[in-house]
Amino acid sequence: MISALFTYEFLQNAFLSGLIIGIIAPLLGLFIVVRRLALIADALSHVALAGIAGSLYLSQSVLFFSALNPVYLGMAAAVGGSLLIEKLRGTYKHFEELAIPIILSTGIGFGAIFISMAKGFGADLVGYLFGSVSAVSRQDLWIIIIIAIVVIAFIRSFYKELFALSFDKEYAKVSGINGKVIQAVFMIITALVIGASMRIVGILLVSSLMTIPVAAAIQLAKSFKGAMLYSILIGELSVIVGLFVAYHLDIAPGGTIVITSIIILLFVLGWNKVKGSYHSRKVKGDFA
């Protein structure tokens, strides 16, 4: 793969995109997980599916859409979905989590309609659902680079506020932090990251790259900064191993990346268990 990487542009595109989303997806995912919003990423990716399926369907009949990268409409749908979730969370104050299945079903519903109405984009669609090593264009790569810059700038600028809001919403409010605006921007950024990641890991597995590395990281880290670092390291490792395996076995990278991260998670959980029982034995020993 290493020599092929220097030869083929599509591989460079896939590899560079993978490295970038391996950073931004878990980075944003950490804030999503600690706020117990892990399912939001799932809902938004399914809304993105509706956008992509819609764009693919329209491309068969409308000239404008045949020239348009379906990622754009997918991203626009995800951004729209993110704003709707915020609105619904306000409407159902006592059932905030209800917003997620409502939006998720809407996304799948529209996705199913567009897919059945259109004829013959099965192969393209599989790429969007599970990711693809060969489908990432130079244009896709540029979109991903721009989104990465936006995400990192946002987190750098609002790190204090994001931390305060995630840790203790009530306190943040009392101390005068404008949670509403930051939350709305955060949702839009999440939608953009989902849009950026779906080319590589696929719509169905985007949320995994945002949550599984984080799930492993919070088992290892004591501090928030540490959790951030571990999340990114585990995300990167999953992407590199996953892309490598996907290329050599010629299978969808979404699957290999996510299963790699699951294996890392299991390893971390096992390690913690071994360490935990060693510690408790040691403590008991001290008392004896």
Binding site: V34, Y159, K160, F163, A164, D168, A172, S175, K222
Partner: protein
């Protein structure tokens, strides 16, 4: 003359059909230590939420530091410690130091990052509550009382002029409550921070507070401590709704 920090003027509040607060007027001045006492459901927490701006009163007016609450922007002058020390997710990956630093977020302002100096301030605040040895521990590893001290440090780190606390001793070991209150005493006397403390512990706190307000839907008494002590137990029981017998200082001495 001392400046007025909190001014409640005829504040009333209703939930659906029940009146929770009725015509509350209260003034807290610079350097004062107020104990707001009352039975469960007397509207203590509601009043605090109104003062903090989390709830809007149906009637009446609140001024903070002389400004109307709607236009009040200097939120960093108020430190707040809530009742539920376990309102946060105890699995949250954050160190004690990170939590305390988050108390500076607003003061530092948007688009700026924490500096070494902020970290120093956070350590100083931890030293005040005697938690500096725990700075790099995970917040979830601490006991309830230790966590509450950390949240006080978070409230103190921005050097507030007013500390508002809603039953901060709930969930703290009884043997630690006394040392907790003596720490508050030191903050008030040595650092000159005004304190508004909500509690149902009628005894302990009235030995420390300079002023006492008794709330049960409306204010039944407010004034300084010596006047409060002159009230007899029967009067207090009348507004409390059930018999209350305060332990008097001389009895305590006798027990020792």
């Amino acid at each position: 003359m001392e400046k007025t920090i909190i001014e409640c003027d005829n504040v009333s509040f209703h939930y659906e059909h029940s009146t929770v607060l009725e015509d509350i007027s209260l003034e807290v001045k610079e350097g004062e230590f107020w104990a707001l006492i009352g039975p469960n459901g007397s509207g203590k927490s509601t009043l605090i939420n109104i003062i903090l701006g989390l709830l809007k009163p149906d009637q009446g007016n609140i001024k903070l530091f002389g400004q109307n609450i709607d236009s009040f922007k200097q939120r960093e002058r108020i430190g707040y410690v809530s009742q539920k020390s376990n309102s946060f997710n105890s699995g949250f990956p954050a160190t004690v130091l990170e939590v305390v630093k988050s108390g500076l977020a607003r003061k530092i302002g948007l688009f700026k990052s924490f500096t070494k100096h902020d970290e120093q301030k956070a350590m100083d605040a931890l030293r005040v509550v005697k938690m500096d040895d725990f700075a790099n521990k995970n917040i979830g590893e601490l006991s309830g009382g230790q966590q509450q001290r950390v949240f006080i440090a978070r409230a103190l780190v921005g050097e507030p002029d007013l500390l508002i606390m809603d039953e901060p001793t709930v969930g703290i070991d009884q043997k630690n409550v006394a040392s907790f209150y003596s720490m508050l005493n030191a903050l008030n006397r040595e650092h000159g921070i005004a304190i508004l403390l909500v509690t149902h512990e009628v005894d302990l706190v009235t030995e420390l507070a300079t002023h006492v307000a008794c709330l049960n839907r409306s204010i039944h008494f407010h004034g300084n401590r010596s006047d409060y002590k002159k009230m007899n137990d029967a009067d207090i029981s009348a507004w409390y709704g059930h018999p209350v017998r305060r332990v008097h200082q001389d009895e305590k001495e006798g027990q020792r």
